[in-house]
Symmetry: C2
Subunit: 224 residues, 2 copies
Amino acid sequence: MRIAELSRRTGVPVPTIKYYLREGLLPAGELTSPNQARYGEAHLHRLRLVRALVEVGGLSIAAVRDVLGALEDPEKSLHKAMGTVETAVAGTGATTDDEVAHEQAREFVTRQGWGYRPRSDAFQSLVSVLATARDIGLDSFPAQLDGYARAGTALAAQDLDYVLSAPTKDAAMEVVAVGTVLGDAALAAVRRLARREMSVRRDRGEREPGGPGSPERECADDDR
Amino acid sequence: MRIAELSRRTGVPVPTIKYYLREGLLPAGELTSPNQARYGEAHLHRLRLVRALVEVGGLSIAAVRDVLGALEDPEKSLHKAMGTVETAVAGTGATTDDEVAHEQAREFVTRQGWGYRPRSDAFQSLVSVLATARDIGLDSFPAQLDGYARAGTALAAQDLDYVLSAPTKDAAMEVVAVGTVLGDAALAAVRRLARREMSVRRDRGEREPGGPGSPERECADDDR
């Protein structure tokens, strides 16, 4: 297919596709004349991956390049590929020298029985959030972390099972590359849905939501 | 204090502070001469809030303005303020007309016994993620949602308790305004820490992490 069809089938504008080609995120098409190239299903699929990482994940072009590079490395173990993706997703968060926040984070991972990896992106990211909370005066924020650990542990097990359930290594690598990004976005949306549900019920003076089975209803009286 | 000190104490560059002033995110200081203003502790605190929303939350200026507006409205209930913050945080996600994804999301909220609010930002956000997953061919992605619901429900209860535990309504409003953003960032970091921990242990052939209590150790043999 030509670039116009690639654009139509993915919803990505032609100038954007050309940008991705120039940046090496998409391999070149097959030149059929000096100014025309043809693209196949592999390009289509790759372009969809790129779009997911950019639009849902908000990754920079450089980060997308790292993630795609991990996908293409046949020597790469799943574990190392996940490390590459985690670093790319974490982005270039500013490191902070807030020692109290660092200590809070260290105490937290220790309390969970996890390894203390102060140079890892995830740890630095946590320190950064804790430093911000201290800055604003949210002194009780660190107390939230243990609840996050319970949820985070359950989700991590689910994430890894999802990766390992893929039928082939290539498919598993794709789950690693995109699953993290989609999973974080889906969880954020689900958490908001749950908060909204709970907030509505508390606001009406109802009890907390219980298990599944409540009848479906459209909430016409909500203001949005 | 003058603007230079405001900058020094918050780490926000002077041109950025002036930008926030022009955009109305910060109230003007007290003019002591035609070209000089003085700022107080309230400005300091406000600037820290703005920076948290922008840097940790990645909110646009318009979204920050909405959130701060909710904070300042004395008539606003906590429930409505949370709604304003949720909308601002959700951002201007593209809506999608993928009917299958919409149906997947509808089935999901129904299965959880939650209200079906198709016009809400959270629901649209979920549809968008599901549409992207379908696009890439991650057909088993919707099966991840029930696990997210369990985590999301527990976290939502924790989030609301955190808001309601604030000593004053003003403090509660601040938790609503910034807590969501910090909480999402903290959860993402904690989830990555948990995934890393689990992946390392599986990679080494060890059993899954158990409860708290493992001795603290620095992981010198990890590659980062």
